[in-house]
């Protein structure tokens, strides 16, 4: 039987935090990523290739998570804005001060294009029983992020597995 607190068990498979990005998809983000990885794929650098293959510019598919990441600050913000809020909620609810991401998966559908406005929501899929790893003692959890464009067309699904933990020297037990 799971020792998961009921308040967390109730969140599993429940869509949370539906958000529409407050900035449009821009080609500049594509160049940042391509430059950071020295990716010379002509699909993203040569407008003629983009026109021939995708009917115009598209974003590199692995930039998908850009569109769920808020600005770190914006006018009116009273605290640091964070992506993947469900992850941070779990850290707080389970009193696990540290966390890492261990697994990530992407399923890529309709390409994202400059000018698109991307919406997303988060779904907690699972939380493990308490585990101990070399990092410390805590729990693994899995969160899906579902992305759609302004036409409500699915552009991708991203899944993260995180491990929230308390370092051994901090563990009160």
């Amino acid at each position: 039987m799971s020792d998961l607190p009921p308040a967390i068990a109730e969140l599993i498979d429940t869509p949370q935090y539906p958000v529409t990005a407050n900035f449009p998809v821009e080609l500049g983000y594509s160049y940042n990523t391509l430059s950071a990885t020295e990716n010379g794929n002509p699909l993203y650098w040569d407008p003629q290739v983009a026109q021939e293959l995708t009917g115009g510019p598209t974003m590199p598919p692995t930039t998908l998570s850009l569109w769920m990441r808020p600005h770190r600050w914006e006018p009116g913000a009273e605290e640091e804005l964070v992506a993947l809020k469900v992850h941070f909620d779990l850290k707080e609810m389970l009193d696990l001060p540290e966390a890492i991401m261990s697994d990530n998966s992407l399923i890529l559908h309709e390409p994202v294009r400059p000018g698109d406005t991307i919406s997303h929501h988060q779904v907690l899929r699972s939380v493990s029983d308490v585990k101990t790893t070399k990092l410390g003692t805590g729990r693994f959890w899995s969160i899906d992020i579902v992305y759609t464009n302004q036409d409500d067309v699915l552009v991708g699904i991203e899944s993260y597995t995180g491990f929230g933990y308390r370092r051994p020297e901090e563990d009160p037990s």
Partner: protein, 156 residues
């Protein structure tokens, strides 16, 4: 030249890729992916709070490196459908990360889309840092364009 599925078979190796990682690589990648978390740019936070030896590559940026590795091989007509990867160890500044990949299977789905399944690793010396499985659509012939597939004709 376009890579077509008839040139791909199970057991085939992808060309290797090596890259010398610097602090700039880590920070540039984190900011390009809008990942502002301090362990990807703040040495003191990474070492004293996270207990790691240095700042380290973030997950979305590693995804972008996998994309680059795959499409270096396929060319621009290759279209990634699915990618799953597991972080086993971190990649730090001064590491030389090396990508290696193998085709594990090829197939054609009911819509006529040809696929290659890949196993990819990122290692630093003897240290295995990340494993990845990916599924990439590859043209059936020089006239085929996987990017033209939409809706029910695209089943990644």
């Amino acid at each position: 030249m376009t890579l077509t599925i008839d040139q791909v078979s199970a057991g085939q190796s992808l060309p290797s890729l090596a890259h010398d990682v610097s602090a700039t690589t880590v920070v540039l990648g984190a900011l390009a992916s809008r990942d502002w978390r301090p362990m990807h740019h703040d040495f003191k936070f990474a070492t004293e709070r996270n207990g790691t030896q240095d700042i380290f590559l973030n997950t979305p940026n590693l995804a972008a490196w996998f994309e680059r590795y795959i499409t270096d091989w396929t060319g621009p007509r290759g279209r990634i459908g699915r990618m799953t990867f597991r972080m086993r160890d971190s990649v730090f500044p001064d590491d030389r990360m090396e990508f290696a990949g193998t085709v594990t299977a090829t197939s054609t789905d009911d819509q006529g889309c040809a696929w290659a399944d890949l196993d990819i690793t990122v290692s630093v010396g003897e240290r295995l840092c990340c494993t990845c499985t990916a599924r990439v659509a590859i043209p059936t012939d020089e006239s085929d364009n996987p990017w033209a597939r939409k809706g029910q004709n695209w089943t990644p």
